[in-house]
């Protein structure tokens, strides 16, 4: 079962290490982790997606709470939150197929952000299912490289 945690932390050196280390020590694999500064430059928000049964997840949350630099942990309910991930994908493109791929990128509301003679780079945002679908569509053309940010998420409403 995938769970998404939104963790508000102090924007200080070593905080990411403390959190990543905690997950490693407790035997949890982090599926995705996105982190960045918030509207307050002294704070950062981490979105952590983990695969966990309920009980150990509660234990991980409690252990996270014990870290001095962790201010708040929210458990994001999939129905009451929004989440996005960015994927950059470089695909081999013979000139004859370029238009075809542009159409597919547009269908996924992505953008082509770089084009060279035999390749292009597209950006697509969305949930993991959408990114997976796009990746599958691109596979026959020849994927050169993929880079994903990990999911950033927040709860809906106020």
């Amino acid at each position: 079962m995938k769970m998404t945690l939104s963790v508000l932390v102090e924007n200080k050196p070593g905080v990411l290490t403390r959190i990543a280390g905690l997950f490693a020590r407790r035997g949890f694999n982090i599926d995705s982790l996105a982190v960045g500064q918030t509207e307050d430059p002294t704070l950062s928000r981490m979105t952590i997606v983990v695969n966990a049964a309920e009980h150990p997840m509660e234990q991980v949350e409690k252990q996270l709470h014990k870290l001095i630099n962790v201010i708040k942990i929210s458990h994001l309910d999939p129905d009451a939150s929004v989440g996005r991930e960015l994927m950059l994908i470089k695909v081999t493109v013979p000139p004859a197929k370029r238009v075809e791929i542009f159409d597919l990128v547009n269908t996924f509301r992505g953008n082509v952000i770089d084009v060279s003679r035999n390749a292009l780079v597209a950006e697509v945002t969305g949930d993991s299912a959408k990114l997976k679908a796009f990746q599958e569509l691109m596979a026959p053309y020849g994927i050169v490289e993929i880079c994903r940010t990990g999911k950033a998420a927040m709860s809906r409403g106020k």
């Binding site: 102090e10 290490t17 409690k62 709470h65 014990k66 001095i68 201010i71």
Partner: protein, 564 residues
């Protein structure tokens, strides 16, 4: 007036009331050592940094204050690691100061550089690497606050040597602003009421208490509670002394080497009050059967301990003393004294059938249990008992008969051989007017034996009794019971080097040897009365086992259950 970073550090430590630092100098902390010369803080020069961290730990346990240790960068810092982990496992308040290579050299593999901040991340409550000299007062204030409050633990401050030398305008920190750190101390009133209701409804309650009682200073409240609800009390190894063992309600220690009747009672109880404990595997054995018939109340200041190992019915997060006071108040609303005659009668049947009696009578050869029981009788009430790790530790836990809190210093969570001697040194410095007795083993003492020099140089009258059986006894016992007596790597023949008496004398300490039962009392009394440190090589029976015993992963009631 401008001062350097080292002086700022020392002034900040003085402001926290630090009286003593256990440390070892080196290039990266030379500026701090220079500053100490102008300070009122006493510096105790250990002979190995592991001794510094254990001594600070012993000091903290015996004084209730934060213990402070200091090491230089690289190997100095890494040598502190075992003691930091030890303090972490037993929730001991400690501030660890380490020197670091100059900040402009960090990350270059400079001489004596080690990433001690990274190395210790899993075993500290919190840690700091100072990058700006102006941060020193704030960091020190925060470190002491974090180390001592909530669930106590070690906090590391890593100070690059150039920061120690940087001149700056010093201003003492007065405020603490830690938005992510707000320990809950008062238990939730609804949960406290639920606990009281559960106790009232129970016929066979049991109190299972541990180190949290010591750390919160709640021994008096615990005693009140036990009498108020008329419940038997069993303690973990960290909780020894929280409840007087000469009280008829005391069942002694539970768990792997606990009394048969404590383990029997915890299995039969219908209500368990787990107070300041963490359901360690050495206590619970096989978790599927531990407290299987009981509704469980768990009181702990650390929310992460609640349901980490065992499902509980009434969780109460808070300081043990605060919660017990609230619980007593709640219980007083219905003051009728509960009748538990049937419950006690059942326990007493098991107690009579399986008494803890290996120290009774006078054996024909010198038994370690007997020696420990006699030492307990020969010492006065204020004595602080410090132990190392191994069979002697368990026999001391079983046979000393603790009556007061904070008189027992044991490396319990990590089980660190070598802890005993430096911890006893720390305790003696914390409590100069109390007698400190160290009970150790011939294996354990040799792990930090160089600290005899500190006892000698500082004239600390620690009384050291080595239960010398010529074996790494606990491992030998396991090999006997679980590996068909195929002894591997455990023999330290009693007459092989070192000669402990001569070794003591080499360190300028009185050395004695006790070999027979008949002279034990007289020689031990002589050692205890000696005006200064003394090391006694007590030659005990070689293959004595610690019993009762629950095998690792076994059910705690099995040792009795099989025979009842």
């Amino acid at each position: 007036m401008k001062i350097n970073g080292a002086t700022a550090l020392i002034k900040s430590l003085e402001a926290e009331g630090v009286e003593v630092i256990f440390g070892y100098p080196g290039g990266a902390v030379i500026q701090i050592y220079d500053g100490l010369l102008d300070s009122g803080i006493r510096h105790v020069l250990v002979r190995h940094e592991q001794g510094a961290s254990h001594a600070a730990d012993g000091y903290a346990r015996a004084s209730g204050k934060v213990g402070v240790c200091l090491g230089t960068s690289g190997p100095g810092a890494t040598n502190l690691v075992t003691g930091i982990c030890n303090a972490h496992m037993d929730s001991i308040p400690m501030v660890v100061l380490t020197g670091q290579v100059p900040s402009y050299n960090i990350g270059t593999d400079a001489f004596q550089e080690a990433d001690i901040f990274g190395i210790t991340l899993p075993i500290v409550k919190h840690s700091y690497l100072i990058k700006d000299v102006h941060d020193i007062p704030r960091v020190v204030k925060e470190a002491f606050h974090i180390a001592l409050t909530g669930r106590p633990g070690p906090v590391l401050i890593d100070v690059p040597s150039d920061i120690s030398k940087t001149m700056h305008q010093f201003r003492l920190a007065t405020e603490i602003d830690l938005p992510g750190y707000k320990p809950t101390t008062g238990g939730h009133p609804k949960q406290v009421k639920a606990a009281a209701d559960l106790i009232r409804a129970s016929k066979r309650p049991i109190i299972y208490c541990g180190g949290g009682v010591m750390r919160s200073g709640a021994a008096a409240e615990l005693r009140q509670l036990a009498h108020r609800i008329n419940a038997p009390v069993t303690t973990t190894i960290m909780g020894l002394g929280a409840f007087p063992e000469d009280d008829p309600k005391s069942l002694g220690m539970l768990g792997m080497h606990g009394t048969s009747y404590a383990n029997w009672a915890i299995t039969r109880a219908d209500a368990m009050l787990a107070i300041g404990v963490r359901f360690d595997d050495r206590v619970t054995g096989n978790k599927t059967s531990f407290g299987q018939n009981a509704k469980i109340v768990h009181i702990d200041i650390d929310p992460a301990e609640i349901e980490k190992n065992i499902k509980v019915d009434v969780p109460i997060v808070g300081d043990v003393r605060d919660v017990l006071r609230a619980l007593l108040e709640e219980l007083d609303k219905d003051p009728s004294p509960p009748d538990r005659a049937e419950w006690y009668a059942a326990i007493d049947t098991i107690r009579a059938k399986y008494p803890l009696d290996a120290a009774d009578g006078t054996p024909s050869e010198l038994k370690p249990q007997y020696a420990i029981r006699r030492l307990s009788k020969l010492t006065h009430e204020d004595v602080i008992v410090c132990v190392d790790v191994g069979q002697h530790q368990m026999w001391s836990a079983q046979y000393w008969g603790f009556r007061h809190a904070n008189k027992w210093l044991s490396s319990s969570g990590l089980g660190t051989m070598g802890f005993g001697l430096p911890a006893a040194i720390g305790a003696q410095i914390a409590r100069p007017n109390d007698q400190v007795v160290l009970i150790t083993g011939d294996g354990s003492i040799q792990m930090c034996i160089q600290e005899l020099a500190v006892a000698s140089a500082e004239k600390l009258p620690v009384k050291i009794f080595i239960m010398n059986n010529g074996f790494l006894g606990m491992v030998r016992q396991w090999q006997a019971l679980m590996y068909n007596r195929r002894y591997s790597g455990v023999s330290l023949p009693p007459d092989a080097p070192p000669d402990f008496v001569k070794l003591a004398e080499a360190y300028g300490i009185r050395g004695m040897r006790i070999t027979d039962v008949a002279r034990f009392d007289q020689q031990a009394a002589e050692a205890l009365a000696h005006d200064g440190p003394v090391l006694v090589d007590v030659r005990v029976a070689r293959e004595e086992n610690v019993t009762p015993m629950v095998k690792p992963g076994g059910h705690v009631h099995e040792q009795v259950e099989d025979e009842v």
